[in-house]
Amino acid sequence: MSNTQEILEVNNVFKVFGSAPDKAMEMLRNGASKEHVLSETGQNVGVFDASFSVKRGEIFVIMGLSGSGKSTLVRLLNRLIEPSSGSIKLKGQTITNLADKDLLNVRRNDMSMVFQSFALMPHMSVIDNAAFGLEISGVDKKTRHERAIEALEQVGLGSYAYSRPDQLSGGMQQRVGLARALANDPTILLMDEAFSALDPLIRYEMQGELIRLQKEQERTIVFISHDLDEAIRIGDRIAIMEGGRIVQIGTPEEIMNNPADDYVASFFKGVDTTKTIKVKDIAQTSALTVAVNQHQAIDFSNNPNEFVYLLDSNNKFVGVAPSTVNGDLSLESLMANRITPQFSVNGSTSLKESISIVSESPYPVPVLDDKGGYQGTLSKEYVLSLLANN
């Protein structure tokens, strides 16, 4: 399963609400603006020329303020709302041309949706709610209950299978909503402001849960949100919408560092960038490194660095030593003089989380990847200058 495979492709999708969408579409094709169409024809443009693609296994966040068309856009994907024009392809199959029956099959097998309002069935127990999609698909009772229990256990609600939805708290109800979507084992998960109705603590917890589930199961998720912190936390890529138009698509860092216009920039104004910047992206690579298995003379003349970072043959970090070890610069003496305790930070932690380590460490902190590979260093001075410019 390659990570770059595109699973969902959306091309030039428009949605016009109103009694005469054809006329409005004609005007849009001739380059009229949304406002112009509204004042001329009274037709409201919900989504304006949306194009994007979602890769297998990524969380794609569509973000925008209310009224920006993001909820409409996600409903166009499974045609809960019929697009006025444009094409949507899922795994190469063109959704927009499907006959009703095939569309039902896509909804049953390929796309599951989680709703802001949970939308659980109050007359069904939790397990029947979780099994709802399977029941609709005609899966027999025994199988669907087994799969529903499995899905409920994934979201930590296994012991509540026979409760009623109204006996659960909001967060737990949305877990049921998530389990209902997971039980179908869909190709793609559509989440429409799924956590917006939850209080902040539960929301944070659910975001963590979603990230965990996504990592475990390689789920492809399209997530709608109006909350920038949420989008940055869970999104691999973010599409920002304004007035029915997608104004920018990119990773959180890309968008933050290169906002397409003032609107996007204004979104990020209040954001604490130290929370979103990953240290691997800012690590300095100017520090002196030495591969410890090399049996060659080390030339430390003209060495401006105070410290030497020792790496093994796999570029793995093994220690730091001062570069002026009593004049003895042999590899053995460097290894023997490694500074303890050792400090390091993981490259995928945020700058904010790393600041305390950076400040404690007597030397610039080495930045390592998950396997311990050396990626660079962070010095106190450098971090301070970053913070000052922020």
Binding site: M113, I136, L157, A161, Y162
Partner: protein
Amino acid sequence: MIDVSFLDPFQQLTIPVGEWVEAMLNYLVQNFRDVFRAARWPIDQILDLVEGVLSAIPPLIGIILSVLFGWQVAGARMGVFCAITLTLLGLIGVWEQSMVTLSLVITSLFFCVVIGVPLGILSARYDRMEKTIRPVLDAMQTLPAFVYLVPVVMLFGIGNVPGVLVTIIFALPPLVRLTNLGIRQIPADKIEAARAFGCTPQQMLVKVQLPLATPTIMAGVNQTLMLSLSMVVIASMISVEGLGQMVLRGIGRLDMGLATVGGLGLVLLAIFLDRLTQAMGERSNASGAVRWFQVGPIGFVVSLFGVSAAKQQVVKPQPKKATQE
């Protein structure tokens, strides 16, 4: 030349509705009487069946059965309530007439449900249907029963069957209206969720709309029952038997005792049916992990014999996760 007064044109200009109706009725009676007579058949069958069963059950067995039923659907208090009302019915000496009235009411309820619920579903689905059907329902509810008693007698004759027919006309509208309302007021997000998971329109109806509308539909059933009971007295004018007949005879003879006993019987029956259907409506509304086989007499028997299969199915929520939320 017609002399039309401009200030009071209605002296000369009138629509002869009365004559038209009369002419049409005469035409129908002369040419289609047999057709209408044939239409009596299904009502006749159901009425005979229900009346046969109800009058064959001895009062004591009837009371015991209804107590068990009341206990099952709404708990022990309902059982006691059923016992009291039905015993009183027996004690004031109107058991037999009550059973006749009850069978009339049940028969008309049966037909009201068979006709009314599908009509309600259709008018919830199609706005045009609702618009068409609404004035008809208004007419059915407001047209004085005496107006259609005569044509019904001319076309169908007299007796219990035409009595059921006029009762259906009068009692049907609330069921149609409340079924329509019940389905229309289902939150849009539930419908959207059902669509998102690939429901066909039929699955939507059976698995989502009807279950969610059940409490409202049960309120409609309750209203239909109450209206049926109130119609029974008027229907007794076309020789419908039962409690209504007692009331009518009492009034005719100025026998206040007889009329009061009949009226009291009707009230007791109404209270009995009202509470029972209301309790059933609340039950369909109720939530909780308790299943039907765990309560009432059936639950009692089940627990007596220790049928463990029933218990195993129900996993009580454990307070384990409580700390998380």
